[in-house]
Symmetry: none
Subunit: 191 residues, 4 copies
DNA sequence: GATGAATGAGCGTTCATTCAT
DNA sequence: GATGAATGAACGCTCATTCAT
């Protein structure tokens, strides 16, 4: 098995186990077994269990940010950008439910404490499209006057919760409902 | 120390530790030490760790439901009821931040799986004011056509996330902001 | 409840629980509850759990020895005395299965280590009818030449084991079988 | 320390502690310490404490059964087979006193409940030489008419009890006494 | 005298991490 | 580089015993 394959196997196994059974249900030996590698091998790629969990999160976050940035219509009106992000997030998580469940597990754990919720779409070395949205919206007076975190919560909390309901099978978040949902979120922040 | 005091000490210690450090950060021996009692003593009041965690949750949930029901303006328009619940929830959690953080930990844990998110304001033996809201709002065509869980998410996800931000010190959720927040949530569901 | 009643309740509860569920299945609180007394009360009558267990055994042993001595035909031939003891033991335990099971539990436990098996019918302050049997039998040359413990084992081990089988329901040790069994034991020691 | 040595150390430590102090006197940490291994190490070789106890018993039982079967004179008269088993059992336990004491502890414990006493020489996948003895003896009318368990008890209870006396140092069960003992047992069942 | 709430040592078991191979 | 056997601190929980009431 090539080096890169090994690492990917480890990450996939850890992701799957944690997404499905929580952090408790993913001991290092379970991850190793599922990945088809020795326990010690994991420590060649990750310094510790904590590092594995944190690194995996970072990678997933980066991937989503990259995707959203790829065709971000920065020249277009705030509203359009808002819809781009909202539907983009839904689209990504609907098609990557493992990532969603892992992200949820991460946020709600001792790890998540260090990680502000509204930083979900941010990355250290990349432009923060969400801050851009808030600042342009405020400057152009198309969104209401409120702290950025409140804006963020209104914009994304219902989306995240509804994705969870979809992933858990409580409803079917199809294109139509998705559109309606983002529309509702927009209505809560627009002037 | 009186019997009732002991139980309260145990509950307070457990709540605090779990709220601050998660379920992992609250072992029975830590809870006992913080409460100033022996480990075995906890087992006189709660059958097991699970029972302690679940009972504490039930008690907190019941307290909130009771409070919200106390002066619920059931005869008044849906919009007014919506505001009653929204501001009531904020008010309760702002004044009981420990309860809020504990509730959050509970929901996002294996325990929470059994407990649907939209059951947050429900209790087995009490009328479910949230379902009442949704059904009346739909019947009177004052809220948009959408599944109940989506309605629930739009109505409360931003509130819950913002309470968290307040509790964690990221913003100050005062009366004015609270009002604005609930208003925004209403705007996302009203027709 | 009178003092003597309390003590008897405690002993009966302890006996029953230990006989039915072993030493493990009889915690002090279970014994107290079954006896209808407080836990602390047991310590008024017995110094410790060990003392309770040992005292109970002593009492049961004494009772059996007293019974066997009551009409022991000391003037009659060794063979007759042998049958007297053999059938007496069977008779006693068949009618007091709780005592039998308790005795068995006791013998096979750390407590039993201090208690030689062939002392089963002996008591510190009473004549030992078993030693009498062995000494007369040897002197009169009606039993084979062998160490006393071997004589004891041949005489009683099959009886004890068969009583257990009866108590556990593996066979029915009626009067006929009882007679045959003692006869067989006699055949193994007689010249 | 080699893998096999480690397992043997664990088994020897557990056997010794249990033989000498009963199941209570052999906690996992005591076994580990005596074996010179970590507590967790035991769990690499045995799934649980129960599994350790049961596996050890099975291994000892199998060893004895194999030994007795090795040169079992199945073509010879019942009496000869009876002596073969009787002296074989004595011989085995005299030379393996630890096995004897462990076996005793096992039989007289919650574990022993599942294990009928008369199955002592039986094994799931091997012929049961004891049943063979009883059936041939009955068919040929060389042993008395009695239930099998009674036959078993007469045949082996005195032997087992006498081995215990030997192991505990109360007598010296040498070849001569051994012969006499088995002879006496035979006299109690033969016609 | 009687009680039972309180205690904490000790139980069996798990699992992140190390390190000899 | 890769392995997994070995480790032991820490977990949830039990229960004989004590002692304030």
């Amino acid at each position: 098995m090539a080096r890169q394959d090994k690492r990917e196997n480890i990450v996939l196994s850890a992701m799957t186990l944690i997404a499905e059974h929580g952090f408790h249900g993913a001991s290092m030996s379970m991850i190793a077994e599922k990945a088809g590698v020795g326990i010690g091998t994991i420590y060649r790629y990750f310094e510790s269990r904590d590092a594995l969990i944190r690194t995996m999160y970072k990678e997933k976050e980066d991937r989503l940010v990259t995707l959203l940035l790829a065709d971000y219509p920065i020249e277009r009106p705030v509203r359009e950008c808002f819809f781009h992000i909202g539907t983009g997030v839904i689209d990504y998580f609907i098609h990557n439910p493992l990532d969603f469940r892992y992200t949820e597990q991460f946020h709600n754990s001792p790890y998540g404490v260090e990680h502000r919720r509204n930083r979900i779409f941010a990355s250290a070395d990349k432009p923060d499209i969400f801050i851009d949205l808030y600042e342009r919206g405020t400057a152009q007076q198309v969104i209401r006057d409120m702290p950025m975190v409140v804006f963020f919560n209104l914009a994304f909390a219902p989306i995240i919760w509804t994705i969870r309901d979809h992933v858990l099978g409580f409803l079917n978040l199809d294109a139509l409902l998705s559109r309606k949902l983002v529309e509702s979120c927009w209505d809560s922040v627009k002037i």
